[in-house]
């Protein structure tokens, strides 16, 4: 009973914090894009635009929810949920920090530490493609259909590279549990360089992981499924109101999850000076590292043009996948040599 209550509380707290964070991530993105583009970004609602997420939310709720003449209303309604729920579920295994003591209990800053955490995250990542392809199909619009098909092909191709790039980390760490992968990376070599995978043994894996993650979350320069200049808005062209908001939040949640995953797998998660003793410091380190990735996402969006569909597929299959395989061989050789 106690354990169930504790887990329920942790889920509630983490969902609340993460969803608020995502809402402000949107504001943050608009601000940064504004600065890159010589604008000021949102600044009308609240001081410095801080109430903008609230206004956006109210608008999404208040708008009329239009359902087009669709062959399948159930799938049309189900698709946004399929896009939003898997990334939120993936939050369950991400270690946000070490252990804190509250009311005389030791509470790990992770909802649950299952021993196949990494597999769990990838399983959920594969589910996400259903939301997009079902949305594209059930919208009964050619633009949506093309967006959905592109997305399915893209996500399946890049998921391969994403998963393969992580195999190197598995070989190094010897575990699938995310909290143990973090522990493996704690400490320093030569007393100064952290034992993060990005510095030791896995720099190539990290690069592949990050590129594939950008493609997996449909962000610039791989944002073909929703390429607005070609396909209007891609798979969510026909969606409005709260259903559109679910796709929107789903995309940002996925961004957050892969950034958190990159932090955990390659940047040592919450580890850092003093994080063992002061757990909140660990949470801060984790947020900063994740925030760095999110910033890079936004930075890319402000800078790069978009790939073409065939170039994207070529890049995925002919460059990233072979590189990921090479990385596995190198990692295995290094693991044997050690």
């Amino acid at each position: 009973m106690d354990i169930a209550l504790e887990a329920a509380l942790k889920i509630a707290v983490i969902l609340f914090i993460v969803l608020t964070f995502l809402a402000y991530l949107v504001l943050f993105e608009r601000k940064i894009l504004g600065w890159i583009q010589l604008r000021v970004g949102p600044n009308r609602v609240g001081p410095w635009g801080l109430l903008q997420p609230l206004a956006d939310l109210l608008k999404f709720i208040a708008k009329e929810d239009v359902t087009p003449d669709t062959p399948n209303r159930v799938l049309f309604a189900l698709a946004p949920a399929l896009a939003l729920v898997p990334p939120l579920m993936a939050l369950a295994v991400i270690p946000f920090g070490s252990t804190i003591e509250l009311f005389g209990r030791k509470i790990a800053l992770q909802i649950t530490d299952i021993n196949v955490g990494l597999l769990y995250v990838f399983a959920l990542g594969s589910l996400e493609v259903y939301g997009i392809i079902l949305a594209g199909w059930s919208s009964n619009s050619k633009y949506s259909l093309l967006g959905g098909l592109r997305s399915a092909a893209q996500m399946i191709s890049y998921e391969l590279a994403l998963t393969l790039s992580v195999a190197g980390v598995l070989i190094q760490a010897g575990t699938l549990s995310l909290s143990e992968i973090v522990h493996v990376q704690s400490g320093y070599y030569f007393g100064i360089i952290p034992r993060w995978h990005v510095f030791w043994y896995q720099p190539l894996g990290f690069i592949i992981f990050f590129i594939a993650a950008v493609a997996e979350t449909n962000r610039v320069p791989f944002d073909l499924p929703e390429a607005e200049s070609e396909l209007v808005a891609g798979y969510h062209t026909e969606y409005s109101s709260i259903k559109f908001a679910m796709f929107f939040v789903g995309e940002y949640a996925a961004m957050f999850v892969v950034s958190a995953l990159a932090t955990t797998l390659f940047l040592g998660g919450w580890t850092g000076p003093g994080a063992e003793r002061v757990p909140l410091l660990g949470v801060l380190y984790f947020s900063l590292k994740t925030g760095f990735f999110l910033f890079v996402y936004i930075w890319l969006r402000g800078t790069l043009p978009r790939f073409r569909y065939d170039q994207l597929m070529q890049f995925g299959w002919k460059v990233l996948v072979p590189m990921a395989f090479a990385n596995i061989f190198i990692s295995s050789a290094l693991a044997l040599w050690r």
């Binding site: 890159i36 010589l38 592109r150 070609e230 043009p305 073409r308 569909y309």
Partner: protein
């Protein structure tokens, strides 16, 4: 048109679909409609439909006195308004055989070249946005804003200046304006052009998206009647400013950029280089700007100064006649081409000796360039369609008139 729409699927295995792109679509530059027959994402057949912005401007011109038509020409190619003004004004002046004072000619050249820079900036902004580089959009529009402010300082209008008059200019430029133009030239060269180069020219993704896409050979480009940067992108060094100089373009030192490839990338490079050449022309014009009147000495055609009109009897009479009756233009016909930002913009005017054109026809560069679109996009992917439409740089107001 109709055969594409009504064609029935022959077998269930036939995977071709017809996609209707536009007239409401984010990247058809307004209200162009393109019907695409797709096999997967590849275009098997394409057809354009235009006319959604038709406003009957050529017909309207038959009911307006010559000086009133200038305000209509602004609204045709709304990104190149001073160029349109210039083309029309030159055509009428040719019929009247008017001599334009040198100061007015130099100011005309300056404004037309500034407008060309603005037009190309809007093109680079929208072209970049369509290929996915959204930041460029704001950088391009910032340049255009600077130019529009210069135009506003001269005549009060921004997009629709109507500043040129038959026989010269509406009024002289304000004090200190040439210094503002100099400052703009320096800013544009040191800042905007560098940003364009960093964000697009040196970007490998942009190169990959544009090289070898929408190729047209020099012969074909000529056969389709293409002109301007689209023609020069195929390697033909044809520029009206050099081939049939007007407004004293023969006295300026500038190059005609060409590229042999004939693809989207070549057209991109040509336009970026054209902005540099326009900058050179503007700088030369600022340096050589002579003093003197900005209106021709032709009291039956050019409105007198406000001051003279109020103090001199003959000026008042001419003013009254010009405003109430206009001025007659000798019967005959004339064709006057100029090099607009998009290519050969020609005004063909027939006069029956009255104060209004008997017939006006505009040879719109966008219209002729757009004809080649189906040929350019067939066999390419959907993503290339927006890149190719962007590289032709059409303005629907110019096409439909």
């Amino acid at each position: 048109m109709s055969d594409v729409l009504t064609e029935v699927k022959k077998s269930p295995l036939d995977s071709e679909i017809v996609l209707n792109m536009g007239p409401q679509h984010p990247s058809t530059h307004g209200v162009l409609r393109v019907l695409l027959k797709l096999d997967g994402e590849r275009i098997v057949h394409a057809e354009c439909e235009i006319g959604y912005l038709h406003t009957g401007m050529e017909k309207l011109a038959e009911y307006k006195k010559y000086n009133h038509v200038i305000t209509i020409t602004d609204r045709m190619d709304y990104l190149n308004s001073t160029g349109n003004n210039l083309g029309f004004v030159l055509a009428v002046e040719k019929m009247l055989q008017l001599d334009i004072p040198p100061r007015a000619q130099v100011i005309r050249v300056m404004l037309t070249e500034l407008q060309r820079i603005a037009s190309h900036s809007v093109w680079i902004a929208t072209h970049g946005l369509e290929i996915g580089a959204m930041t460029l959009f704001f950088y391009g529009f910032r340049v255009r804003e600077a130019v529009l402010q210069l135009i506003e300082a001269v005549c009060g209008g921004r997009m629709m200046p109507s500043y040129f008059r038959i026989g010269g200019l509406a009024r002289d430029i304000p004090d200190g304006w040439t210094q503002r133009v100099r400052d703009f030239c320096d800013d544009f060269e040191t800042q905007a052009l560098k940003e364009f180069d960093t964000l697009l020219t040196e970007n490998p993704i942009f190169r990959k998206r544009t090289e070898g896409v929408g190729v047209i050979s020099a012969e074909e480009a000529i056969q389709w009647g293409m002109s301007g940067p689209c023609l020069r992108g195929s390697g033909v060094a044809h520029d009206i400013r050099r081939a049939h100089p007007y407004s004293g373009y023969e006295t300026y030192d500038f190059d005609i950029p060409t590229r042999p490839e004939g693809d989207v990338w070549a057209r991109y490079l040509v336009r970026v280089e054209e902005m540099r050449q326009s900058l050179r022309i503007v700088r030369q014009a600022v340096e050589k700007l002579p003093s003197g009147p900005v209106k021709a000495d032709a009291p039956r055609i050019v409105l007198p100064d406000r001051h003279k009109m109020k103090t001199q009897m003959d000026a008042l009479i001419y003013h009254f006649l010009l405003v109430s009756d206009g001025f007659p233009v000798p019967a005959g016909e004339v064709y006057q081409p100029i090099e607009s930002a998009r290519g050969e913009l020609g005004f063909y005017i027939v006069s029956d000796g009255g104060p209004k054109p008997y017939r006006m026809h505009v040879r719109a560069p966008s219209f002729a360039n757009l004809q080649a679109l189906p040929k350019l996009i067939e066999g390419h992917l959907i993503a290339d369609v927006v890149a190719i439409i962007g590289s032709i740089d059409i303005v629907l107001g110019d096409i439909d008139r």
